[in-house]
């Protein structure tokens, strides 16, 4: 091979085989790279605008420049990222809608684990890391070589909450239920004492089944994510609870999609379940003459406390991006989740602040003083669980969903539904 060609080949080899995401020796963070990084996100509408404002602020105070590109809904963003990985044309960083997607990208060897940056000179001290809500860090960690490693980084997080209509509760003489049994009793009381629909929701795996399961100490999958764990006494109790509400007590109106929202907003329903960011949508759907103050409470507790699911999005850095771009992406992510920014983003978007120190920030305290509902989602975080970080979750979720549906429609007993699902899920996890 001729000289220049040889040199070229060697350069390429070195670049390809060198460590992805070159990190400076611990101690001194190097100067910021002057690069423009591409950031694919799925925040639309008003939230997209607010995110844009944050990014403008970052760009004006940093050498690293962020170019945000809106890619559609989370589903569309996911498809775009998958296509990009297949075509080899990934951006520098992107939003992911939770541990399953992170796990999939990770399995395709498309990501640089965030742990690498956290441990680097640009990273965070142990104290700083401890400021983050542990549940959120768990939500972003995957077992790598047996060790729990941060693969993605939290950003916009919400959790599932119980919504209620205080007027109806007062009319029925019911207080806000704190345990699952109290909720069931409350629903029965509402049914007997008022004309309102006690509970209206669109049942799926995330609303009720998983939180109930977790609140009993159960789990959907084994901790190494290789076997189904939901066909347990806790899992059966979780499903039986909903089945009892629907088929025995008949205190539930089952809806499709967002169809539960309008009746609740119109004051016809006592309880609903949704994520913490639903409040503005509900308020918007209220008729002008019949407004009420939407009540928000954590999901009821089981013997092992109250649990809830984490929704929203996290951030990932792609391994195929140039090293300095990856570093720039981390610098941006770190800034985004500093106390000031996380408070600002939370107040602007309705997502939760990610750090404990946010509670004491003046802006946040002022907002909480004005309306204590701001704290409900945050307080529920300590019982929050991320969705199982299995790359096969996309295939598992419909199976579980079918089990829930079959039981709720009375087509299958709880035992049979879960047993069938367990077998299918184990087959999926066993793969080839």
């Amino acid at each position: 091979m001729r000289g220049p060609a040889l040199a070229l080949v060697l350069t390429v080899l070195v670049a390809a085989c060198g460590p992805a995401g070159t990190v400076a020796p611990a101690g001194t963070p190097g100067p910021e790279p002057a690069v423009t990084i591409t950031f694919w996100h799925g925040q639309s509408g008003v939230l997209g605008d607010r995110l844009g404002e944050l990014i403008t602020k970052f760009n004006s105070t940093h050498k690293v420049q962020v170019s945000a590109q809106f890619q559609g809904t989370y589903d569309q963003l996911y498809q775009k990222v998958v296509s990009a990985i297949q075509a080899g044309s990934v951006p520098d960083m992107a939003m992911v809608s939770g541990p399953p997607q992170t796990a999939q990208y990770w399995k395709a060897k498309a990501l640089t684990p965030v742990q690498q940056f956290v441990d680097s000179a640009d990273g965070l001290t142990a104290n700083q890391l401890a400021d983050f809500v542990p549940a959120l860090l768990d939500d972003n960690s995957l077992p790598v070589n047996g060790k729990k490693t941060l693969v993605s980084w939290p950003f916009s997080k919400s959790d599932a909450l119980l919504y209620y209509n205080p007027d109806i509760l007062q009319a029925a003489g019911v207080s806000v239920p704190k345990t699952w049994d109290e909720l069931r009793a409350a629903l029965n009381t509402v049914k007997s004492k008022t004309n309102a629909t006690p509970l209206s929701y669109t049942p799926d795996v995330y609303y009720f089944f998983l939180p109930y399961l977790w609140s009993q100490g159960g789990n959907a999958l084994s901790s190494d994510l290789t076997k189904a764990a939901f066909n347990s006494p806790e899992g059966q109790a979780a499903l039986q609870y909903q089945v009892d509400l629907a088929l025995s007590d008949r205190t539930v109106a089952i809806t499709q999609g967002f169809d539960w929202q309008n009746p609740f907003a119109q004051g016809k329903v006592a309880f609903a379940v949704s994520t913490s960011v639903s409040r503005p949508f509900i308020e918007q759907a209220m008729p002008a003459d019949k407004k009420f103050k939407v009540g928000m409470a954590p999901l009821p507790a089981g013997p092992k406390g109250a649990a809830t699911d984490l929704f929203g999005n996290n951030l990932v850095v792609f391994a195929n991006a140039p090293a300095d771009h990856q570093r720039g992406a981390w610098i941006f992510m770190k800034w985004l989740t500093e106390t000031d920014q996380t408070v600002a983003w939370s107040l602007a978007s309705g997502y939760m602040p990610l750090r404990d120190s946010a509670r004491n920030a003046p802006a946040f305290k002022a907002a909480a003083d004005q309306d204590d509902r701001v704290l409900v989602a945050l307080n529920a975080l300590k019982g929050a669980h991320g969705i199982p970080g299995s790359p096969d979750w996309q295939k598992i979720q419909p199976v579980l969903g079918d089990a829930v549906t079959a039981a709720l429609l009375g087509k299958s007993s709880v035992k049979d539904a879960l047993a069938t699902a367990e077998k299918k899920v184990n087959d999926i996890l066993a793969g080839f």
Partner: protein
């Protein structure tokens, strides 16, 4: 039964069937003019209390309908032009040029009709990525730039051209290409019109392929845009219906205007199979 009674009965039957056919469209129009509250009231009202034409404006603004229509238009026009070009050339060759093995080639082309679209969907998706055509107009137009159906129809038309015409043209120094362009195609205008119409309608109504290879609003055609719109408006059904009316209207108008050619075209294609 008297003839008059029979006739009346016939009209009633046909009118009834017509109502069943048209009913969803009427319902679509009715809902599109209601307020959100009225649209989501139960039992549903037949006629809107107020005729809110502003819903169309709201729907138009709620999603980039203009862009969606433009994309569908580009896709349709692109496919029509390319498909007519390739089909005319191929049909002419099969009908009038002494190409060895043309019978076999024609048979092979017909055989490709049994390949169901799902089989080609996934590989074409991968191919679009590898070619860098993902989320581009190229991906929306080129794969549909040749249709065996169109070749078939045009071949039939070209076969019916009188042989003497060609002989005469040859004496004037006309080659095949010239003959095709100056004589064969102009004389087959009705068939070309049908081919153009059918191709355009198919392109306008296409859904599955554009769904998977467009990713951004600036490439999305109207049918895909409509389903995205459905998930965006969630409970604003009146806006969704308004959007649907807008998506249906262009084709309905073209259909009313070109009704005869349309139906003739379908029928003629149908008879010979």
């Amino acid at each position: 039964m008297s003839v008059r009674a029979r006739r009346l009965g016939l009209y009633v039957l046909m009118g009834g069937a017509g109502l069943v056919m048209a009913f969803p469209f009427l319902w679509m129009l009715s809902t599109s003019l209601k307020t959100e509250a009225e649209a989501t009231s139960f039992p549903p009202s037949v006629f809107p209390a107020q005729w809110l034409f502003v819903n169309y404006l709201d729907a138009w603004r709620a999603a980039p309908f203009g862009r969606y229509f433009l994309n569908s238009g580009i896709m349709a026009v692109g496919q029509v032009l390319l498909s007519i070009a390739t089909a005319s050339l191929a049909a002419y060759a099969l009908a009038r040029i002494r190409v060895p093995g043309r019978g076999f080639i024609f048979g092979a082309l017909l055989a490709t009709l049994v390949i169901p679209p799902e089989v080609t969907l996934i590989p074409n998706y991968i191919a679009m990525q590898r070619l860098g055509w993902y989320n581009t107009y190229l991906a929306l137009i080129i794969p549909f730039g040749a249709s065996v159906f169109n070749v078939f129809l045009l071949r039939q038309a070209f076969l019916q051209l009188p042989g003497e015409l060609y002989e005469a043209a040859v004496l004037e120094g006309c080659g095949h290409l010239r003959f095709l362009w100056r004589f064969a195609m102009p004389l087959s205008r009705p068939t070309l019109a049908i081919v153009a119409l059918l191709t355009a309608i198919r392109a306008w109504n296409d859904f599955q392929w554009p769904l998977i290879i467009t990713d951004t609003a600036d490439l999305r055609p109207i049918q895909v845009g409509l389903t995205i719109f459905r998930s965006d408006v969630s409970t604003n059904f009146q806006l969704l219906m308004a959007g649907s009316v807008m998506a249906v209207a262009p084709v309905a108008v073209v259909f009313f205007v070109a009704q005869r050619q349309f139906i003739q075209g379908i029928a003629r294609a149908g008879i010979r199979g």
